[in-house]
Structures are given as C-alpha cells and as structure tokens.
Symmetry: none
Subunit: 89 residues, 5 copies
C-alpha cells in the first residue's frame, strides 16, 4: 500500500471520528442551557423575551465550538494542506 | 489486499462508528432539556405554548449538532473527496 | 512508505482528533455558565444588564480555551514547524 | 524511516493531542466558577464589584493552567530541546 | 533506530501528554473551589476578606499541583537526568 492510500484512509477515518467526538460536549452543554432556560421561563413567564434572547446568544456561542470542529474536519477532508507534500513529491 | 479495499473497509467502519458516537452528547442534552420542559410545564400549565415553542427551538439547535455528524458521515460514505486520489492514480 | 508520508498521515489524523476532543470541556463549561445565568436572570430580572455583561466576559474566557486548540491545530495542519527537518534533510 | 522522522511525527501528534486534552479540565472548571458567580450576583446584586473581582482572579488562575499546557506544546513544537541530540549526533 | 532516538521520541511525547493530562484535575478542582467561595461571598458579604484569603491559599495549593507537573515536564524536556546514561555510554 502506497503513501497516498494510507494517508487518505487514516485521515478520512479520524476526521469523521473527530466530528462524532466533537459534538459530545456541545450537545450536553446546550442541553443544560436549554433545560435551565425552560425552568426559568416557568418561574418568570413575563421575562420570556429577555431569557430567550440570552439563551439564543449562548446557544450560538456553544454552536460555534461545534462549527470549529466542522470547519477543521471539512478542511482536512476536502483540501488537506499536507496532501501537497505527498502529491508533488 | 489493495489500497481501495483497505480504504473502503476502514473508512466505512469509522464512519458508522462516528455516527454512533455522535448522537451520545446530543441524546443526553435533549433528554435534559425535555425533562426540565416537562417539569416546567407541570409547574406552569398555562405557559404551555411558550415553553414548548422554546423547547422545540432548543431541540432543533441540538439536532443540528447531530446533523453535522450525519452530513460528514454521508459525505464520507457516498462521495468521499479523498477517494479520487486513489481512483485516478 | 517514506518519512513524509507517515508524518503527514499521523499528524493530520491527530490534529483533527485533538480539535474534536478540545471542544468537549469548553462545551460543557459554557453550558453550565449559560444555565446558571438564565436561572439568575429569572430570579433577578432587573439585574439583566449586569448578569449578561459578566456572562459574556466568562464565555469569552472559555472560548479562548477552544481558540488555543484551534490555533495549535491550524499551525500544525498548515505550517507544521517540524516539517522543515523532514523537507530540508 | 530514520530517527528524525519518527521523532517529528510522534512528537507533533502528541503535542496537538495534549493541547486538546489540556483544555478539558479548565473548560469545565471555568464553567463551574462562572455559573456560581452569576448565581451569587443574582442573590446579592449590590456585591457585584466584589464578586466579579474575585471571579476574574479565579478565572485568571484557571486560565494559567491552560497557558502552561500551551507553553509546553509550543516549546515542543517550535524548539524541542531534545531535538539537538538527534540533529548534532 | 538507536537508543537515543527512541528515548527522545517517547520521552518528549509522553512529557507533553502528561502536561495536558495534569491540568485536568486542578482545573476542575479550582473551578469547584472558586464556585463555592463566590456562593459563600454572596451569603456573607461582610466576610469577604476572610473567605478570599482562604480561597487564595486554597487556589495556591491546587496551583502547586499543576506546577509540580510543569516542573517535572520541563526537567524531563530540558535536562533529562537519565540521558547521561545514554550519552556517555
């Protein structure tokens, strides 16, 4: 098996594994935030607008973590920067 | 075993493993959110419409994390970008 | 398989895996912070400005942890400093 | 594969993995601290100045842990002290 | 691969990994301590001086744990005591 075969195999496998691993923390974190937001909403229904504005800002910041992982995974899958060293050898 | 055989074997195995791993966090997170939503609903039954609207928005955002994993897994399974390097060698 | 092939394969695989691992802690931590912020907001709606100013400062500090990981991953992927020893050998 | 190739490959891979692992604890710890600070702020809004001074001192001390990891990772990546033994052999 | 190559490779890799692993506990521990200190501060604002003196002493003792790891990692990286046995053989 040549270099290119090993590279594409292992890198593709680890990239998809990293994506699966990368949503573990954000998934639990977003669940915590939403849970408390709904509890807060039940205690103070008149503050719905204020609670939910901040919940959405918070979810967007957690979502950004998952997007970092997605961006790195897509860079590695579609345009892996180290592949040039193997192709133009 | 040639390059293509190893590539398809390992990549398919890791892709399906990543999908299984990727629903772990979102699954727990959605459980937390729904649990608190039902608790909030029992405390404030008249706020059902408001609680459930925000629960659905929150669940949709957690769901998006699992969709990222699904998209990456489907890209890798159906149209793996690195497979070209092995086919047009 | 030569040096360059092994280097690019393993380093790319571990870099993307590290990114997936690196958002686990920050994701859970941000979820905790947002959850308590919303609970605090429901208890003291008049303190919204003060609570949210400090929540955003806190989230920015947790986000900085994820950015450290992202920076190290991008350095390693695009301009790995140890690659020179392999190229100009 | 010669010494230099194995050294650069394994060291770069472990360095980036250590960075991903090193933000796990600080990320969760900072989340805990910020969460309780906001809860305290809601209970004693008049003590904001005092609470937040100590929160920032605490976050700075947790951040220092992540900086230790970052410094060691960057030392190893850019100027690994043991590389001399391999280069000037 | 000779002795020196194996020694420097494995030692550097594990040293940086140990640094990443070594801040896991202190990071979570410091977060717990700061969280409860701020909660205590909100309950007894007039005891700020006393609470925070002891928080800083506690954080310094937890920080010392991470410094132990840092010192050992730096000793191993820059002046590994067992390296003499390999060099002056």
């Amino acid at each position: 098996m040549n270099d290119l075969g090993i590279f594409t195999t292992i890198v593709t496998a680890f990239a998809v594994l990293a994506m699966g691993l990368g949503v573990l923390g954000p998934g639990i974190g977003m669940g915590m935030a939403i849970a408390k937001a709904l509890e807060a909403l039940a205690r103070q229904p008149e503050a719905e607008k204020s609670i939910m504005r901040w919940l959405l800002i918070g979810l967007a910041m957690i979502e950004s973590l998952a997007i970092y992982v997605l961006v790195v995974v897509l860079i590695v899958l579609f345009r892996s920067p180290m592949l040039d060293y193997l192709l133009h050898k």
